[in-house]
Symmetry: C2
Subunit: 438 residues, 2 copies
């Protein structure tokens, strides 16, 4: 009972998917049922290393979607348009969709999900978050008994690669980025990765699955690693922390809509935290929930092979349900696999949330400075875990000192109030860095 697959895009991921489909031996026997029937590429005439029948290639993605022999549409072209329109076109034609496109799902997920529900087709997206790591499927199908308390993850491989090298080599952000671009670990235009937007897209998707309702993508507080200094990575290490770009979606109590704190920012993790050992381009997602406790999913966050593994898993799941119903559209959907939203969620006011913080201050090197800084925190009700003066480094100004404070958990508004008081101190030259801490 073969099932026809149409592929939109034959870049890194698309080629990885095609490579699996045309060589099914040794994989789950259902892979052999998947037939690649048509592939949309920019230039069908270009020579390719993949042993693909050239008759399958065409330059018109709509023709692939409309091809009656195509029963499942696999969108691996990326970008917002025409990806969004092609996904909606496939759904309108009653064809289930598999996509690796986090940007389109993070921004148009509700529109796409509504269209899919109306037509009775699945839209699956395992590859959109965490590359090859099974995380979407487990969130949908394995953790439904739980009340999710927090999802936190390292979900951008490029920034984790840069941060790992900054930590290992003491290198500056700009130098490592340039090297990462040379090696192909970072794009020529790295903004989406290093400014945190890619991670924000992905945590938006995980939020909707974990809590059963979506939040406004553009309202997710997002800070990247592009202003992170090597000095803060080094000081963090001396205090027992590693710096990671963390994406977090955390429940803040009960209510309808369910209040959530969703954010992306560089974060100090204690060295024995499960996410602290995630190096290089790997990703990991930690789910904390009641009653399961803490479970973590770890693996390669990008790359042709891992991402293709996730895409084909989704195709297999659709093929599996087709064996049950005999059709790829119009039959009732499995509510776990379809993952429609079932609750309203909203973002809380960030100033009311509570966090631990790392602050680096440049001050004049005078007796009593630490006392006055401590007093400012104390007056605002901010409790301090440690306050350390680091030796002046090469290149620092004569007569300057560098003071690092790690606070206990404190409400953001109070913390900002303390910072304002500290900034006004005559002895404080500048608040040089401010990072969240777990």
């Amino acid at each position: 009972m073969a099932i026809g697959v149409g592929l939109l895009g034959l870049g890194t991921v698309g080629a990885g998917v095609a490579a699996i489909l045309i060589e099914p031996q040794g994989r789950h026997p259902l892979v052999a049922e998947l037939q690649l029937r048509r592939v949309a590429v920019r230039d069908p005439a270009r020579s390719r290393s993949l042993a693909l029948n050239p008759a399958l290639l065409c330059s018109d993605p709509e023709a692939v979607v409309d091809d009656p022999s195509v029963e499942i549409v696999v969108e691996v072209m990326g970008g917002l348009e025409p990806a969004r329109s092609l996904i909606l076109r496939a759904i309108a034609a009653g064809k289930p969709v598999v996509t690796a496109n986090k940007a389109v799902i993070a921004r148009h997920g509700e529109e796409i999900a509504a269209a899919a529900a109306a037509k009775g087709v699945y839209v699956l997206l395992e590859a959109a978050v965490g590359g090859g790591i099974p995380i979407i499927e487990p969130l949908k199908q394995s953790l439904g008994a739980n009340r999710i308390l927090r999802v936190s993850g390292i979900i951008n491989g490029t920034t984790n690669y840069i941060l790992s090298r900054m930590a290992d080599e003491g290198a500056a952000y700009g130098d490592v980025l340039a090297d990462a671009q040379r090696l192909g670990y970072a794009e020529a235009d790295p903004a989406a990765d290093v400014e945190g937007h890619d991670a924000a897209d992905k945590i938006a998707i995980l939020t909707a699955l974990a809590y059963g309702g979506s939040v406004a993508r553009e309202a997710i507080a997002t800070e990247g690693i592009d202003r992170l200094q090597a000095r803060d990575v080094a000081y963090a290490a001396r205090l027992g922390y590693v710096v990671k770009l963390l994406a977090v979606a955390q429940r803040e109590g009960e209510g309808d809509p369910l209040p959530l704190d969703v954010r992306v920012h560089p974060t100090l993790l204690p060295k024995d935290h499960p996410l602290a050992g995630v190096h290089g381009v790997n990703n990991a997602i930690l789910v904390e929930a009641d009653p399961v406790g803490r479970v973590m999913f770890y693996g390669p966050g990008a790359g042709a092979g891992p991402t293709a593994s996730a895409v084909v898993a989704d195709i297999l799941n659709i093929a599996g349900t087709r064996q049950v119903t005999g059709t790829t559209s119009g039959a009732p959907l499995d509510p776990l696999l379809a993952a429609s939203s079932w609750r309203r969620c909203s973002l809380v006011d960030g100033s009311q949330t509570c966090h631990r913080n790392y602050v680096r201050l440049q001050t004049c090197d005078e007796a009593g400075v630490i006392g006055r800084i401590g007093t400012c925190f104390g007056s605002a009700g901010v409790s301090i875990q440690s306050i350390v003066q680091f030796e002046a480094s090469l290149g620092d100004q004569e007569g300057e000192a560098e003071i690092v404070v790690i606070t206990h958990e404190v409400q953001e508004a109070r913390f900002r109030q303390a910072l304002a008081a500290i900034a006004a101190l005559a002895e404080v030259r500048t608040i040089a860095a401010c990072l969240r801490t777990l």
Copy 2:
């Protein structure tokens, strides 16, 4: 569209399952559709902390299975019989089964799967391996595009707790075991855990899912931690390793049947290995596959909450498919969820497999001993990574030395040949320990 659940057993796991079912708020909305209709317990009159309608309780598990209002049978009583018979009875009645019983699945999995396939019902077992960690479902539904190369895991929480404390405290096995029993982390009769049988049951189950075919449970080479000495844990640490009870299922080439090396034994892991950081009662399973690479699943390996999370996930999956087909039996099964075997597998001759090894020798403290040991390894073609003489410890015999050898990867038969030659050396008093090394 409520769905009736019958529970066999109300011990730790059963009570955890009931607690979720009777309080569905805040979980996936499908949980609210699950109705606990009947519960088999040893003594219905016993008082329980759980707010369960006493009319649900009965002492006859067959009556629960046979109850027409029970549509899904959840077996959480453990043990081989009557669990096996009750599972088969439920299947014969056309009722899908959820079980947390690794022993019965490891030994009677094929019989149960065949009966389930014939009747068109699912038998799901997420809780049988890794407690709350989603691993069965991801292996079945998320990694089907891959050729699995190796599955290795820390899948027994009791032994990992004991090993973690031995490493942290330098304590002796017997002392930590006694303490673990006192604290409830080890059973009064700890044999199944400490001798590796529980881990062997679980790796048998993972093997069948990962490779699509089962191997003979009783033929799995199994060595526990019950003869492990504190000294070897300490020496391993000084050489950069941690000792873990590892269960491994590894592909050894191609063929029909597919040749596999499946085994359970204490193993030295390099400290930066992803499984080396798994502490206490946590479990983790590392899957290495083509093209996904290395993915790891980590979390609590036991306990009421985590195990109940996994059990209810399975119930939800069956409820989800019921929403598609309108029935819990007789409809075509999703081949991914049903996970029937699709390939023949067989165990290879262990003497032909290749491994790295750690060997501790007690020798007389004479010049030239290391040379003669090295020569024995060399003559058998065994390449050595390191050979270290440790200082005599308190309590060692006067005039004795302790020598630790770590070999490169070597065929087991050759390695044994070298060991026999070493044992015959006049200077060697005894081969005190021999452990596999990654």
